[in-house]
């Protein structure tokens, strides 16, 4: 496979600074609403602040790749004497939990760094976090060329994995006849 230069976009998360306000969740859902900013719903957000106030846990987590199956085993982390729940650090949208899924369709959500046209200087969550918990960084790396899936494809792929290609095709055919 050919090598290409790829821009790596990173959000550095300084969780120690997080005041737990969840403003990042709101702005993410508003930015990705259609039309943009027409609605707000943190359940649709691609960043979730996992908190347990009385255990002093504050952990902003970004939605990563869709995972069709649960992990075979689970991890539990203890950091500074605090035991984190299984999956707390995981970014996957996966069958084991309802995190990072569209609340109505169940389709997986994934952080896209607010890619848009014209491009934003920084993702919206970074812009809105006035406490500097989130810092945006960019660097270039050489990577293998890869085919990038569009949003619809990501969604369809997960449906195919869940229900099988034929069932999805049949359903789409039936739905298009109704129209």
């Amino acid at each position: 496979m050919a090598k290409i230069k790829k821009k790596i976009k990173t959000i550095k998360i300084d969780a120690d600074k997080c005041n737990g306000c969840r403003g990042c969740e709101i702005i993410c859902s508003a930015f990705h609403a259609n039309p943009q900013y027409s609605s707000n719903n943190p359940a649709r957000s691609r960043i979730q602040v996992i908190t347990n106030r009385l255990e002093n846990k504050w952990l902003p987590v970004f939605a990563g790749e869709y995972a069709p199956a649960e992990c075979m085993g689970r991890d539990k982390y203890v950091i500074d004497g605090k035991e984190y729940d299984e999956c707390d650090f995981c970014r996957a949208s996966c069958p084991s939990r309802d995190l990072f899924k569209e609340p109505d369709s169940g389709l997986p959500l994934k952080c896209d760094m607010c890619e848009s046209d014209p491009p934003l200087e920084k993702p919206m969550c970074v812009q809105i976090c006035l406490n500097d918990v989130l810092t945006y960084e960019e660097r270039e790396e050489e990577v293998d060329e890869d085919v990038k899936l569009e949003d619809v494809e990501v969604g369809l792929e997960s449906m195919v994995t869940k229900y099988g290609l034929q069932k999805v095709l049949d359903t789409v055919a039936r739905m298009s006849q109704k129209d």
Binding site: N19, G23, N41, A43, L130
Partner: protein, 662 residues
């Protein structure tokens, strides 16, 4: 589609367990906005003046406002309304935290409770699924403890829970409703919840909250964001630290407590300790606070740090805010700040207002020292020990008795006003710091201040410190400072206020008590009230608006934000008219319950120097400015101007408003 509001309320009949999802009239937003505004309208329509606080017909409403759940920074208040057991008037304590946005994401603007449940229940709202669940196993549990127990039981770590503790269960008049790092504390909302046998309300929502013109809304929010950043980086010079920033008082951030400890009164609002902030006490307090506050935290979608996650010397975590950091120390005359952190933990689990409760305990100590209460009142029983004699132990003991309504605590739990009258034997004179039967902050000052005179006397909030904010507390000594202050003041509703500030002097003719003049005082107080009423309708925290000098939200950007959010086209005059309508309806509700001019006065000893004639003139001028008659009742003319002709008719029918009286 409905914008900014969801368009649905939950109506819960606790007697039958019937739950209904009721679509609201879209016209209500045009006439009363939302939040406090629409709640007051519901109380007016449905709660006649004969209804007593603990009657089944007393409504208990938990309300969101128009901005909860939107990207508007600091839109996180929940307004709780009910006829108060303490004041017998329509109370509206508010809490921050996370609850309101979650309720809107679940698809509701308000939860309206009527009647009483036969057994302990909690309400679980999960989008369209709403159920009353048994809470018998939660009886006696702490207010914070209950929140986590419910989240575990429901397997919903993201549920937001508002709960009462033992004080609410026992209908203590200072019982609070606790939720995350916040609480609705004043005037006994927790007691009404307890009376209705609601232990908690849990909510989880995953639906959309829509904005009419979202992109435009975000454009206006850019200005707000820039201003927040600007103000956080540039505190106002020449004012006290606590007034220099934005947000609710940053008590968890600031360690310098010279101002509070030396200017507020210790004990039962008695003594100013002008030399308290010694090197030794300062060192103790700073070390204790820094060692105890583990993290600075905020409410929903707010960049500030008004709250603290605290743990004192390895004790359990709990959350605290604001002046609660010092109230127990000061009321008990205890110099060690550690005591406050220890007792506030227990008080938060009991669920009691950390402003009025310490005053009740200090009142009991005073009565004991005066021989009105005796050792007999402080005896133990088979279930608890006798009261210890040290200051700290005594306060813990009294707090336990009050929250549990045991022994003398059963009388004290009705608050200082009623306790003083029940105890008698001269105890009445120790009730020296209440307004409309509600305990005020322990402040005793020298010279009567016309603005504060009006706020103490007249506001429906009754808790005075939650009404002030837009105007500096004292004049600036030099003209240079005044000019600098007025130069950068985009929040002003009208430019002519600048001259009032420029002419305001520390001494002489243009100083307290004659300046600001009665007319100016009426205008300034009206401005503060107007902004508070907008905040409470959209549920923006007053700390980012009406409660602070030069805040990010004000009368010039609010109409634009509200218009973009709701789709209504509202200008400044239109917005002012709506909140004026709400305020007058609120006042009429209270007038209908018997409130008149005779009730409108600050505590007698609030200032050393009083001016009875001038004070009457200030009050009359304000009434006239507001369009009220000399008894403090809105006139028919005023009510009609605000499309409240039906209110005038009601007041006339009841003989509260008389023909030709103005």
């Amino acid at each position: 589609m409905r914008y900014a509001e969801t368009g649905f309320n939950l109506e819960i009949d606790l007697a039958t367990g019937n739950i209904e999802r009721v679509e609201t009239d879209p016209k209500m937003m045009e006439t009363h906005l939302g939040g406090l505004g629409t709640s007051v309208k519901i109380h007016w329509d449905r709660v006649p003046p004969e209804v007593k606080p603990f009657d089944a017909e007393n409504l208990l409403i938990f309300s969101t406002g128009l901005f909860n759940g939107t990207p508007a920074f600091s839109a996180n208040r929940t307004v709780v309304t009910f006829v108060s057991p303490q004041s017998n008037l329509l109370a509206y304590p508010m809490m921050g935290g996370f609850w309101s946005a979650e309720l809107k994401y679940a698809g509701y603007d308000k939860v309206i409770f009527r009647n009483k449940s036969p057994k302990w229940v909690y309400l679980w709202i999960h989008n369209d699924k709403v159920e009353l669940r048994d809470a018998s196993h939660l009886q006696g549990k702490g207010a914070l403890e209950t929140q986590d127990l419910i989240r575990k039981e429901l397997k919903e770590p993201r549920a937001q829970v508002a709960a009462i503790g033992l004080a609410g269960e026992n209908r203590c008049f200072t019982a609070s409703i606790e939720q995350s790092r916040s609480s609705a504390s004043r005037l006994g909302g927790g007691a009404i919840m307890g009376d209705k046998k609601i232990k908690a309300i849990a909510v989880r929502g995953t639906k959309d909250v829509n904005l009419a013109r979202g992109a435009e809304f975000m454009e206006h929010m850019k200005g707000v964001t820039e201003y927040i950043n600007y103000r956080n980086a540039n505190p106002i010079p020449d004012v006290m630290t606590i007034l220099s920033g934005i947000g609710s008082p940053q008590e968890m951030v600031h360690t310098d407590e010279k101002w509070h400890t030396e200017n507020f009164a210790w004990g039962n609002a008695r003594v100013r300790r002008k030399d308290f902030w010694s090197k030794e006490n300062e060192a103790n307090w700073v070390t204790t606070q820094l060692g105890t506050v583990k993290r600075l935290i905020s409410c929903y979608n707010c960049p500030q740090h008004c709250g603290g996650l605290v743990s004192y010397q390895g004790g359990p975590y709990y959350m605290m805010k604001c002046f609660g950091k010092l109230t127990y120390c000061m009321a008990a005359y205890v110099d060690d700040l550690g005591f406050n952190f220890r007792i506030l933990n227990r008080a938060t689990e009991y669920g009691v207002d950390s402003f009025s409760t310490p005053q009740i305990l200090a009142f009991a100590v005073e009565l004991y020292e005066a021989g009105i209460l005796t050792d007999k009142d402080f005896e133990g029983t088979s279930t608890y020990e006798a009261c210890p004699s040290d200051k700290e132990g005594r306060f813990f003991w009294l707090l336990d008795r009050v929250a549990r309504r045991e022994g003398i605590g059963d009388i004290l739990a009705d608050g200082v006003y009623y306790a003083a009258r029940a105890i008698g034997k001269g105890a009445e004179v120790f009730d020296h710091n209440t307004v409309k039967k509600h305990e005020q902050l322990p402040l005793k000052l020298g010279m009567m201040d016309p603005l504060y005179y009006l706020m103490y006397s007249t506001n429906e909030k009754i808790s005075i410190t939650q009404i002030e904010g837009q105007w500096p507390q004292t004049p600036f000594p030099t003209m240079e400072q005044r000019e600098a202050f007025v130069k950068d003041w985009p929040q002003l509703p009208d430019d002519h206020f600048k001259q009032y500030l420029l002419d305001w002097e520390l001494r002489g003719e243009n100083a307290n008590p004659y300046y600001p003049t009665p007319q100016m005082a009426a205008e300034i107080v009206d401005w503060m009230e107007m902004l508070h009423n907008i905040d409470d309708a959209v549920c923006i925290c007053a700390g980012m608006s009406s409660f602070c000098l030069k805040p990010p939200y004000h009368i010039h950007n609010y109409p634009k934000l509200i218009s973009a959010a709701t789709g209504m086209d509202l200008d400044e005059a239109g917005l002012k008219k709506i909140v004026n309508r709400s305020r007058n309806l609120h006042r009429a509700f209270n007038n209908r319950r018997g409130m008149t001019r005779a009730d409108e006065k600050p505590p007698e000893d609030h200032w050393k120097k009083r001016f009875p004639e001038l004070e009457e003139q200030i009050l009359s001028t304000y009434y006239k400015f507001k369009g009220w008659n000399m008894n403090g009742i809105p006139t028919r003319e005023k009510l009609e101007e605000l499309d409240l002709g039906y209110v005038a008719e009601d007041l006339e029918k009841r003989g509260i408003l008389k023909d030709g009286q103005d």
